[in-house]
């Protein structure tokens, strides 16, 4: 449209009749031949390929595609996966032979994570939050050549639905930015359905190719994400005290919003919250995040007005997404992108876990007690930053693995965004939140100084020797805005 400002617009020629369009269908998008597809995709050494993790440990697509890349002898791929799971241990040989050079992820666990910790990557690993990932893709910072989207169902034009198909996974929030911003988008599906496929998670206008395969995943692995409410009395005690913290904060009022992680203690908090809401005739606004059957029950009981769902953790959540109009899909960008208006900014309360926390409230959920990668931020950073009250729940004493340290192994979430830590031995409040300290003291909660609690725990457990690392940096822990929070080191 460069003629908009052209003063001599009559000098521009109209097209000749011979150039008039013909009616007819565009070319077929569907293929079953992965070799043919790859010829068209033009994947080269150094290409950036993306995947989502809605099929979790049941996913077959990531391994299938990357093995094809390996077969073609393509090297130095940057793997942009929203998360990687134990099933991706099949990719370890691809690190060693140089097929995969860099990894960008929001969560990584299993043997692949351990191999990376041991320095098997030729390049680097970048760990992002869910919101940070969406931000870097949406603003063009992270350019993706091809997005392979595992699709529980698609029609022949590429309308993808997460709730249809035998391997249904529900909401597909983590794949949305990839589908919109990647150079090319391939829907990989085992369930080709009649046009139009609806409700649609990703629409045909974003999809270039459809690869039909035998199986995109294993249902049992897809819905294995659900944890049960803990039965451990100490975990339950922590959950009960967390509810008291929420009550004392004054945020538990009509229309409040809430999110919790899927850990056993976090789920117990949700379950106690439900009892509390029923007892006090309290109705919340929205609940958000990864959605479980516990939350869909509360939606159906009228305890929450709506659910914002970025991923479904169980079959109940998938069923609810299908039938409840107030069970809403959200993309990772709408969930937590710091550069746009996001759901996390409207959150009152979030309940989160921690592997380690230091006396400045910095949290590590990325590496375990051996210093090896075994997790990642997910939405941790995003919700801690956005919510009015971020609460970490964790046992202080659990098999002599220290929770509170002078310095955490890798900072995943900065302490300036973490408000409260609830343990079985007391409630620690970030000194930045004097308002909460005052409220909790008035409510006679067992508020203790985090430094004192650390000393007590060291008295009982002894002081842990620091984890032995090499001085080789293998990657970085990125903050949601793209700034570098911390380094990740190779483990001895």
């Amino acid at each position: 449209m460069n003629y908009l400002n052209n003063f001599n617009i009559d000098s521009i020629k109209v097209i000749d009749k011979s150039e008039y369009p013909t009616k007819g269908q565009k070319k077929n998008k569907v293929t079953e031949n992965i070799d043919d597809l790859f010829k068209e995709l033009n994947i080269k050494d150094g290409s950036v390929l993306s995947f989502h993790h809605h099929l979790r440990n049941g996913d077959h697509v990531t391994n299938l595609i990357l093995k094809q890349v390996q077969k073609l002898g393509i090297k130095d791929i940057t793997l942009v996966a929203s998360s990687l799971f134990p099933t991706n241990k099949e990719l370890i040989p691809l690190l060693k032979d140089g097929t995969i050079k860099n990894v960008v992820a929001s969560y990584i666990s299993g043997e692949l994570a351990e191999a990376i910790s041991h320095g098997e990557l030729k390049g680097n690993i970048i760990m992002q939050s869910h919101g940070g990932r969406a931000r870097s893709i949406a603003n063009g910072e992270l350019k993706i050549d091809v997005a392979f989207i595992a699709s529980p169902s698609s029609d022949d034009k590429g309308n993808i639905s997460g709730v249809n198909g035998i391997n249904s996974c529900g909401s597909m929030g983590y794949a949305i930015a990839d589908s919109m911003m990647s150079e090319k988008v391939v829907a990989v599906t085992d369930s080709l359905v009649e046009y139009p496929n609806y409700p649609t998670d990703i629409t045909e206008d974003y999809v270039d190719h459809i690869l039909l395969v035998d199986s995109i995943g294993l249902k049992s692995g897809i819905v294995s994400g659900t944890t049960q409410v803990t039965k451990d009395p100490i975990g339950l005690k922590i959950a009960k005290d967390t509810l008291k913290v929420m009550e004392a904060s004054g945020l538990l009022k009509e229309g409040f919003s809430y999110q919790s992680g899927a850990g056993g203690i976090s789920l117990a908090v949700t379950s106690f919250l439900r009892d509390y809401m029923l007892e006090n005739d309290l109705k919340g606004g929205f609940a958000s995040g990864g959605i479980t059957g516990y939350l869909t029950d509360m939606l159906e009981e009228g305890l929450f007005e709506s659910l914002y769902d970025v991923q479904c953790f169980d079959l109940e959540a998938i069923e609810s997404l299908k039938k409840n109009p107030t069970h809403l899909r959200m993309s990772a960008s709408q969930y937590g992108n710091p550069e746009v208006s996001a759901v996390v900014d409207n959150l009152d309360i979030v309940i989160l876990g921690a592997t380690e926390i230091d006396t400045d409230f910095n949290v590590n959920v990325m590496t375990g007690s051996h210093g090896m990668l075994m997790g990642g931020s997910g939405g941790h950073q995003d919700t801690a930053a956005g919510s009015k009250l971020s609460i970490i729940v964790s046992k202080l004493f659990s098999s002599r693995i220290p929770l509170i340290k002078d310095k955490v192994d890798v900072i995943t979430t900065p302490g300036t965004t973490v408000d409260v830590l609830v343990t079985e031995r007391g409630i620690c409040v970030n000194p930045l939140r004097q308002d909460l300290i005052k409220q909790f003291n008035e409510a006679k909660l067992n508020v203790v100084d985090i430094k004192e609690l650390k000393e007590y725990s060291e008295e009982i457990m002894g002081k842990a020797k620091p984890i032995e690392k090499t001085d080789r940096v293998i990657g970085i822990s990125e903050y949601r805005d793209g700034k570098i929070l911390d380094y990740i080191y190779e483990v001895k």
Partner: protein, 285 residues
Amino acid sequence: MYKTLLFMPGNNPGMLVSSDVLGTDAVLIDLEDAVAINEKDAARVLVVEYLKTFKNQTDVFVRINPLDTPFFYDDLDAIIDSEIEGIVLPKASVESMEALDKYLTEKNSDFKIIGLIETSLGLEMAMEILSKSKKVIGVLLGAEDLTLDLGAKRTKESEEIAYARSKIIAISKALQIEAIDTPFTDTDDYEGLKKDSLNAKDLGMTGKALISPRHVDIVNNVFAPSQAEIEYALRVVEGQKEAIQIGLGAFSLDGKMVDAPIIKRALNLLKMSGDYKEEYDELLK
């Protein structure tokens, strides 16, 4: 007074460490039923080491093995120097209470005793058994073993132990010791637990033993006096103080005469709620 007394297995290190954060008034560390026969020695050492290391924030009692087992004196020898509140004596009988009292007296121990009544003979002799030692501060009804002994069917409705409960309660009041109800054994039935606890409280039990940490809050709530009850009791006590000061024999409150039983009930309630003060000791003299 103990509203809740939670049993904790003596051979489980993880549970011992966290036993004092569960909100229970007393912890009953168990060397008896919760410990397998070939682990008795190890559990004993573990409990002693635990008590040596940790200052448990809650009152701790240890349930030792009964007199008719080879472990009775081994258990006592092991824990006699530990910092605990006292001993729970299982299958309490005249002989075992005498033996325990003799042992503790010889050792100059100030351990208290909770007698566990769980046999037919024990129930019928409870008055005598519990009178055998001045160290007895409470009686605990053990309904599982008792109903087995009685040949009765153990049910959630607990009609089969109505007599035992009432008898234990009467004796406890006569001896001015605490009456502790038998545990509710279905760990997942919270409604049943609440009903059972209310029933026990209404009959006159002052607290309840528990086998599940998840039962603590519910039972605490049942046995805790309400705010209105506490306020009324405090008014009764203050009224009586004033009456004594001005030399009145009796006084009235809200248009009702306040007599000794009402004062006594108020004092008991304040003991239960933790609002009791030593100066109240004078009020009934």
